[in-house]
Amino acid sequence: MAKFFAITILVIAILSAIPIVRNTWHPMEDISTHGQAIDKQLDDTMWEAGLSFLASQTILAWFIWRFSGSRPGEKSKSFPGGATGLVAGAIILVGVEIFALGIFGVKAWGNIYFTQPGADALPVQVQAGQFAFYFRYPGPDGKFGPLHADKISEANQNFFGLDPVADPDSKDDIVTAEMAIPVNKEIRLLMHAKDVSHSFYVPALRIHQDFVPGLDLQLHFTATKIGRYEIVCSQLCGLGHYNMKAYLDVFSQQDYDDWLKKQAAMQ
């Protein structure tokens, strides 16, 4: 029974590792300028955690195999070096491992959160509400008009609560249900929630940030590959949470300009 158990542990450990080694399921291709550091951090952690996993399970299985049963006449033995060696080993090995991961992790995190967007970054506002994202572009004047919560009306399709009559800056604002951005252009994303907490998760962009009702948050990023990607909500926001998504189109500059003109005409 003990030997069979040991083999089972080993087989489970190996089978578990196979999809990782074969890269069967993996994060989608990175299309951001900052994502490379995150992916490297993930790879490094996978190596360290994966080896720890396989080594620990193998030793556990080996000891179960080797030290089960009564073995009459044989005295119980203690692990060479005792607890001191194991504690010292754990502190040194894991300490170095987590120190290294921590330091490099700060760099990957800082690429997003501890840098400022350039002055020419393209501002795009995103509003999250049950159960849709809406996006706003400032129009030719480059300015966003102010928001008025009391004017928000899904029925009137005034998703942001704009008042173009009273606020000249709102007149040329462009509101869309999908996000489009030019490739290789830095984006300054202005985030706010209309009702409850939501999240802006774009796996391909290596961007993941909650919307916090009552707080205006900013992110900045640059997409490097033309294509269509998905934005999904990852913060439980109600019954339609599973279906709260939008598309992100990364266009060439020319296609983006054409798209924006078309959207402006539809306002």
Partner: protein, 594 residues
């Protein structure tokens, strides 16, 4: 300071009426068994809910016969709606986290064995102890009530993030009365657990019998002591948080709701609250809760392993210090649940380092377990199989913690199935395996009968292979970006992953069905199992020095005296390779730590 010259006990007479004996009992052992039965009822509910959820995730339009009985509007044609999915998910997690993972390893086993391990007659405050169980039972009934009130239970998840949880029914089904009932139940539950901790701690500090120093306490009792301290400080934060949440619903306050929120085109009548305040309060409880669930399991499997290895752990003290380190660090790491929540990004770095640091005591514990296996004479039985599997599961859950401790990696993995896999392996499944190990080990003592060993092993094999089939693939789903708490997966990149969900669903149904083997074995053995000897496993700690089951005063009027460390195995004595803790027999104390 504890006076070791006098026998210590909390005195109350033997129960004389049926009510006092079986219902409103003051006997810690009856209360422990009541907690166990409550945990068993809760785990059955939680398991059935998980079956329903998993069927829906695998086959979204599958009609589950009778599902409409659970919800008036949530299951047209017995097909689950997204809102019913979220309601069942919330109740699954709530029942499991609070009424199973807290109740069974901590309150049930702790109640039964702490006074026995300390050589006491009962808890120091038996009436409080009785109130602890019945308060928890009321909390359980209140939580059940939410299935039958208004538009059903809350759908906001066990974390109940505000403002979804605070704005009322305008936010969706169950978000009105359902949330108020949820918060009321949890607040009551917190009171019950505080009563429990207020008994456990003084029992361990003040009711230890003669000769029983703190270092002579068995490892599970150390684990329950540390868990009680965590419970005191964490439940006392969650309870007022729940009261504030209720006030946001019924008193027009705005603790957790910011200004100018618009839901269904209605401007909400709240202002000035903080969305993140709830998250801070909740996770200040929530992360220690992870250790409240797992540390008792660590103590239990250590105890079971030592008895079955026939040798003590490499270091009793290092394990105790490591349990303590987990408890202290657990308060410093809660922010890793909030890396992308919108709190200051510098805070994420600050919370990241203690989160990584907590892997050191966790690693030490695992290495002590594995290192102690070296040179053992390991007995394989249902209890030791579950204990050994606990180590395997804890390793698997632990290594995935490396990923989630890092804010940069959480950009990819936060709120995905990777997180679901991680916390199920650690606080849920490992903890449940600790409960099973403790049950197979202590069943003879608790109920005075033996469980069927063959059924125990069948139960083990199905469960061990089953849980890996359920939860290991969730790591892969998470890596692929599969978001959790979705009732189905309409996103283009997630829909190809449904096949993996179907595999998990089949594994979950199989593994769940295997638990019926345990249920049969448990009930049958409880009433019809062969009578248990007093010390069936040749154990050394004080529970094995009394009858199975123990009399109402635990030791039949004997004032216990302890002469040894709790784990004197691998020695030469008149009984064999062990010496009971209360035996005055002198042996070469090769296992005493300096």
């Amino acid at each position: 300071m504890h006076d070791t010259s006098a026998p210590a006990a909390a005195h109350h007479g033997p129960p004389t009426t049926f009510i006092r004996k079986h219902v409103f009992s003051l006997d810690h052992k009856v209360i422990g068994k009541q907690y166990y039965d409550l945990g068993l009822a809760a785990v059955l509910i939680g398991m059935v809910l998980s079956w329903l959820m998993r069927i829906h995730l695998g086959w979204t339009n599958f009609a589950i016969p009778g599902l409409h009985l659970l919800s008036k509007t949530g299951a047209p044609g017995d097909v689950m709606t997204p809102e019913l999915y979220l309601q069942l998910m919330t109740m699954h997690a709530t029942f499991m986290v609070f009424f199973v993972l807290t109740v069974a390893p901590f309150a049930a086993f702790g109640n039964f064995f702490i006074p026995i391990h300390t050589g006491a007659e009962d808890m120091p405050f038996p009436h409080f102890n009785m109130m602890s169980f019945w308060t928890t039972f009321v909390a359980f009934c209140v939580m059940l009530l939410s299935f039958f009130v208004g538009d059903g239970p809350t759908l906001g998840g066990w974390t109940q993030y505000a403002p979804l949880s605070a704005v009322g029914s305008v936010a969706g089904p169950g978000q009105g009365a359902g949330v108020v009932i949820w918060a009321t139940s949890i607040a009551i539950f917190c009171v019950g657990q505080l009563f429990g901790s207020l008994n456990f701690i003084p029992n361990i500090l003040d009711l230890r019998c003669k000769g029983l120093s703190m270092w002579r306490l068995p490892l599970p009792t150390w684990a329950w002591f540390i868990t009680s301290c965590m419970g005191l400080t964490s439940f006392s934060v969650l309870m007022p948080a729940c009261v504030l949440l209720i006030l946001d619903h019924v008193a027009g306050t705005s603790f957790f709701v910011a200004s100018n929120l618009v839901i269904n085109d209605q401007l909400q009548p709240h202002s000035g609250g903080s969305t993140l305040l709830w998250q801070h309060l909740f996770w200040f409880f929530g992360h220690p809760e992870v250790y409240i669930a797992i540390v008792p399991g660590m103590g239990i499997v250590s105890h079971v392993l030592i008895t079955n290895m026939r040798k003590p752990m490499l270091s009793h003290r290092v394990l105790v210090y490591s349990f303590g380190a987990l408890a202290v660090l657990s308060y410093m790491v809660y922010g890793h649940h909030m890396f992308v929540s919108g709190m200051n990004p510098v805070s994420s770095i600050v919370f990241s380092f203690p989160t990584l640091l907590i892997t050191i005591p966790s690693t030490i514990i695992v290495l002590i377990w594995i290192g102690s296996l070296y040179g053992a004479k390991l007995r394989i039985n249902s209890a030791s199989l579950f204990a050994l599997a606990f180590i395997s599961l804890f390793i698997t859950g632990g290594v995935s913690g490396f990923f989630l401790a890092q804010p940069s990696i959480q950009i990819l993995l936060h709120a995905t199935y990777f997180v679901v896999a991680h916390f199920h392996f650690t606080m849920a499944i490992a903890s449940v395996f600790g409960i099973f190990s403790g049950t197979y080990f202590w069943f003879p003592k608790m109920w005075g009968r033996m469980m069927n060993e063959t059924l125990g092993r069948v139960h083990f094999w199905c469960s061990f292979v089953g849980v890996y089939c359920i939860f290991m693939p969730m790591h892969y789903l998470g890596l692929a970006g599969n978001v959790r708490r979705y009732s189905s997966f309409p996103a283009d990149y997630m829909s190809p992953l449904v096949g993996v969900h179907q595999f998990i669903t089949i594994a979950a149904l199989f593994t769940g069905a295997a638990q019926l083997i345990f249920l049969y074995n448990f009930i049958h053995s409880r009433f019809w199992g062969p009578p248990a000897p007093d010390n069936p496993w040749q154990g050394t700690s004080l529970e094995w020095s009394t009858t199975s089951p123990p009399p109402w005063d635990n030791f039949g009027g004997r004032h216990m005296v302890v002469y040894h460390d709790p784990y004197q195995y691998g020695v030469q004595s008149s009984k064999g390779d062990y010496v009971m803790q209360d035996s005055p027999e002198q042996v070469k104390t090769e296992n005493e730590e300096p």
